[in-house]
């Protein structure tokens, strides 16, 4: 495992030029993905997850903050630096249908990637392509097909192989499973975990599928309107979410085993605010189930930004009135936890007695 080879974001802000003025898609995000570990990034569409991913790989440039890979900052304005960044960070896209050039065979795509930073002769290139295909569990016969002749799952595997061909220190997986079928999804998630164990890259796993995130991540960060509102170890975050938004998100996920969810009141009353003019104070306050609109006396939420939280805490929640750790999560409750023997915490020390 490559220690210190991970990705770190310090106060990263990315602005877009929207049609009606600048939009701050990512606002002061700090995040750390150590080598060999996976950080899951969840949030609704428009929360800035994908913009963050694009900023990390250099497709967008942050207007403020620093992004370091392996402790080194890359200036995105310089072509040579950008190339060096590409050698360190790779991105796998959401839609395998468009992520591969439809006119290039798998072999050509992989060759392009494998030869992007190192010069390979014909034989070693063929070897490398064979090795990559094996790595992602595809047989060599796939090499001469164009993406159109592959299934969605196979295409996504090729996309992963292309990203890993440069042996990156950081892999960004941007919604890699959302276009895939359930059975294929499981195989891809398992494969990503295995590959990480073998190759030791740091992974930023972006998804709106909380179950998938839970399956691969060590730490989960929740984004809302450009900000990270809660960061915690996967187990802690899912068992005892402290931010109201995380709670809402978790309770909206249908579960096959947790029993039927009663049809209740609408979850989030208001619409998602326009990212171009986010609400003052806590950005979640207009929709918050325990915020000033529901509970009088919590006007501070509409005024003061809870973002200024002491960093370095293991479980960070940007909220003035966070839930306490022992409140229990909507999903850790009664039914399945007892009956099902839900997963025991990873460290024996924190075993509930």
């Amino acid at each position: 495992m490559r220690e210190g080879a991970g990705l770190a974001l310090h106060d990263v802000t990315v602005r877009h030029h929207g049609p009606f003025g600048p939009v701050t898609a990512v606002d002061g995000v700090s995040l750390e993905v150590p080598g060999g570990r996976t950080v899951g990034l969840v949030g609704e569409s428009g929360s800035g997850k994908s913009t963050l991913a694009r900023a990390v790989v250099g497709l967008d440039s942050p207007s403020a903050g620093r992004i370091t890979v392996g402790g080194r900052e890359y200036r995105r304005r310089r072509a040579a630096d950008r190339r060096r960044l590409g050698q360190q960070v790779q991105l796998v896209f959401q839609d395998p249908d468009t992520a591969l050039d439809p006119r290039m065979t798998v072999r050509q795509s992989l060759a392009e990637s494998a030869g992007a930073f190192v010069r390979l002769d014909r034989r070693s290139r063929e070897q490398r392509i064979g090795g990559l295909l094996e790595l992602v569990g595809l047989d060599a016969g796939c090499a001469d097909r164009v993406p159109g002749r592959l299934s969605g799952g196979q295409r996504q595997r090729v996309a992963v192989a292309r990203a890993l061909a440069v042996d990156p220190a950081v892999l960004i997986a941007d919604e890699v499973t959302s276009a895939l079928d359930v059975s294929v999804r499981a195989a891809l998630l398992t494969m990503l975990r295995d590959l990480q164990r073998r190759m030791g890259f740091a992974m930023l796993f972006i998804s709106h599928d909380l179950a998938a995130v839970r399956h691969v991540s060590d730490v989960v960060a929740v984004m809302y309107l450009g900000r990270v509102v809660e960061t915690a170890s996967t187990e802690n975050l899912l068992r005892s979410p402290r931010h109201p938004y995380t709670r809402t998100l978790l309770s909206a996920v249908p579960s096959l085993h947790a029993g039927r969810r009663p049809a209740g009141e609408p979850l989030l009353p208001a619409e998602v605010p326009d990212p171009a003019s986010p609400p003052a104070g806590c950005r979640f306050h207009p929709r918050c189930p325990v915020g000033p609109n529901r509970r009088p006396g919590r006007e501070v939420c509409a005024v003061r930004d809870p973002q200024q939280e002491a960093a370095g805490q293991p479980h960070r929640a940007a909220c003035h009135f966070p839930y306490r750790a022992d409140d229990g999560s909507p999903h850790a409750g009664g039914v399945h936890r007892g009956a099902n023997g839900d997963r025991a915490p990873r460290t024996p020390g924190s075993l509930p007695s």
Partner: protein
């Protein structure tokens, strides 16, 4: 000058007979070939055959009209005009083609560059192209022709400069579609250099429409060049082209029309030939992607249907769909039988390619062109679809059934206001007056908890978020008070919190109006959560029909069982590896008999490969299409290590550590 070839991904409508004859064999293609041949002969042979005749002056026959000797007459030096016309073919066509190629090369380079350069340079280039486009092409050509000096070479350069901006703009537009793709982003992340991006990724994708475009532009260039010559800015005597001949003929058009008309006809003829060539090429390109008609219109003998059950909204028996493909026949739906009771919410789950969406489209009579559906019985609201005319059927479907699609962005016409689109159906089918329809629409919006009222009705689809659009779609669907709503993956494109809103809305509509809902999804957790009954589809057939509450633990078909086990779940054990299903989905073209799942099934029997199982009852409200359905699974979470182990062994899933995990769990529980 903008031809139909300007669509890189031209709408590839499934084959309609008649429209598919657009290759060289069609009348248009043949005409084009003949016209091009007619041009080619004098172009190649002209200089050799008629040069002498064209240049030989005859002082005895100056400015003659048409005679037997000189079919078109002679010019003021007594030279034969027909010979001059034919000999001028090459000098007229070559500069036109050259100017087009030069202009295209410059324009395409300029336009394609916009796809690979950085932000600021891209904006500058775009502005430059816009600026150049702002000048009328012919004016630019005349300006540059004057600047470069009169003469054929100057005219060619001037015309190239004039047509370059057009090419640049088209290329820019086409390249922008490529530049935005993920594979270009991936190539950029790989740090590929610009010229490689351009040559490997951008140009190959836009080559086809550009070639077609260039062909058509050559026709326009010919006309423009002739114009320049006509104005005296092109070919200079003693050299000559059609434009100059036209100009010379024009001086005496009132006495002898033919010397002016003939070069005009030649110019028009050649220009039309180029245009037609472009059309034929575009047609051929579109045809390449168009599937063929299926050879066998599988007429299915309509069975004497059973009497309609009273509370059934929809009954479909043995539904089959056949799709044409380039070289084979695809059968995505192979005998689906389903029935929905009033007020029932039924989930139809399956992976992509299982035929679930086509089943829905076939039920709604919305199959894409070329696809054919046959059925044993198709009864909607008690009326047999087979016994009614197409118009009658459509009318009944239009008033009794509503459809909600996956992508709320494309389900609405972007240019029409929400109000117009919402009230369209009631006004057309119920004859509701406008004001009343608007009131109904407002009530429907209130029902889906969309604020804004009349303001919302006046807005256009793009002003709404995806979740809002889907809610408008549901509101519009519920306005007709349909007996059945078919919802095809209505929440797939939306976030979980919005998804929950949508699901709650559908449930409410079902409860309030007793609307039956056929809910199609690939998300089995969602289906189990929302529906009463679940139909599991695989390989174009329904393999299991069971109550939704039994899905998690009571599935009996091996496929359903494996599908359930492969779902990552917030409540399931995280360290237990997800189970995967080995192998791939069945080939939708295959005609082999047997169970579609047999080659991936760990429990297959000899019988499974040769005989297709039919959906048969297994218990109350539980049907399964399997020769050897699995025994009911032990209750989930029951700590019977042996039972779990046998289950794992039975289902043959790619997992080995069930026993270990369970033992660990057991130990922990004892602690």
């Amino acid at each position: 000058m903008v031809p139909s070839s300007l669509r890189p991904a031209a709408p590839r409508a499934a084959g309609r007979s008649g429209a598919s004859r657009s290759g060289w064999a069609s009348p248009l293609g043949a005409t084009t070939l003949v016209m091009l041949g007619t041009l080619a002969v004098p172009a190649v042979a002209g200089a050799v055959l008629w040069r002498t005749a064209a240049d030989r002056p005859d002082p005895s026959a100056v400015l003659r009209g048409p005679t037997a000797e000189h079919l078109l007459g002679t010019d003021r030096l007594g030279r034969d005009l027909l010979a001059r016309l034919l000999a001028a073919t090459w000098p007229s066509l070559l500069p036109a083609v050259a100017a087009t190629l030069l202009g295209a090369a410059a324009g395409i380079t300029l336009g394609a560059l916009t796809a690979v350069v950085g932000g600021r340079a891209r904006r500058l280039l775009g502005a430059l192209i816009n600026l150049l486009l702002a000048f009328p092409a012919l004016l630019v050509a005349m300006f540059f022709a004057a600047l470069f000096g009169a003469g054929a070479d100057g005219a060619v350069c001037a015309l190239a400069v004039a047509c370059a901006p057009g090419f640049a703009r088209i290329t820019q537009t086409l390249a922008a579609t490529v530049a935005g793709t993920d594979f270009m982003a991936a190539a950029r992340v790989l740090g590929l250099r610009r010229h490689r991006l351009l040559l490997r990724h951008v140009l190959p994708h836009i080559a086809e429409p550009l070639v077609l475009n260039t062909t058509v532009a050559a026709g326009s260039a010919l006309v423009a060049l002739s114009g320049l010559s006509f104005l005296g800015l092109g070919a200079q005597p003693p050299s000559y082209d059609w434009g100059l001949l036209l100009s010379q003929g024009l001086d005496r058009i009132y006495t002898e029309p033919l010397p002016a008309v003939a070069p005009g006809i030649a110019i028009a003829f050649a220009a039309v030939a180029f245009q037609l060539l472009g059309e034929v090429l575009a047609g051929a390109a579109a045809r390449r992607a168009r599937p063929r008609q299926p050879e066998e219109p599988t007429a299915h003998p309509a069975r004497a249907g059973r009497p309609a059950a009273a509370d059934h909204v929809l009954e479909v028996e043995d539904l089959r769909v056949v799709l044409p493909a380039t070289d084979r026949v695809v059968r995505p739906v192979r005998g689906v039988t389903l029935a929905l009771r009033r007020g029932e919410m039924v989930g139809l789950v399956g992976e992509s390619g299982s035929g679930k969406s086509l089943t829905a489209l076939a039920i709604a009579d919305l199959l894409p062109d070329g696809a054919r559906a046959t059925w044993g019985t198709h009864r909607f609201l008690g009326a047999d679809a087979g016994s009614s005319s197409r118009g009658e059927r459509r009318r009944r479907l239009a008033t009794g059934m509503a459809m909600i699609f996956q992508n709320p962005a494309s389900a609405f016409n972007p240019s029409l206001r929400i109000g117009t689109q919402m009230t369209e159906a009631v006004r057309a089918h119920h004859g509701t007056p406008r004001a009343q329809a608007v009131e109904q629409a407002l009530a429907a919006l209130q029902r889906v908890a969309l604020p804004g009222g009349r303001r919302l009705l006046r807005s256009r689809p793009f002003q709404l978020s995806g979740g809002q659009r889907q809610r408008v779609a549901i509101a519009a669907a519920s306005m007709m008070r349909p007996a059945l709503i078919v919802a095809d993956e209505p929440t797939t494109a939306l976030d979980v919190t919005v998804q929950r809103q949508i699901m709650d809305l559908l449930r409410r509509i079902r409860r309030d109006d007793a609307t039956a809902i056929l809910f199609i999804s690939h998300d089995i957790a969602l289906v189990a959560d929302a529906c009463d009954r679940v139909l599991v589809m695989y390989g174009g057939t329904i393999v299991e029909n069971l109550p939704a509450r039994e899905l998690a633990a009571g599935a009996r078909h091996p496929y359903t069982r494996m599908l359930v086990a492969s779902v990552p779940d917030l409540a399931a054990d995280r360290d237990r590896p997800l189970r995967t299903i080995e192998g791939g989905p069945p080939d939708p073209c295959a005609t082999a008999p047997g169970c579609p799942f047999h080659d991936r099934c760990p429990h297959r029997l000899d019988r499974c490969a040769v005989e297709s199982p039919v959906l048969s009852p297994l218990g109350p409200e539980h049907e399964v299409a399997c020769w050897g359905p699995l025994p009911p699974a032990p209750f989930r979470g029951q700590r019977v290590t042996e039972a779990a182990a046998t289950e794992a062994a039975e289902t043959g899933m790619t997992e080995t550590d069930v026993t270990e995990t369970d033992v660990v769990e057991k130990e922990e529980a004892e602690k």
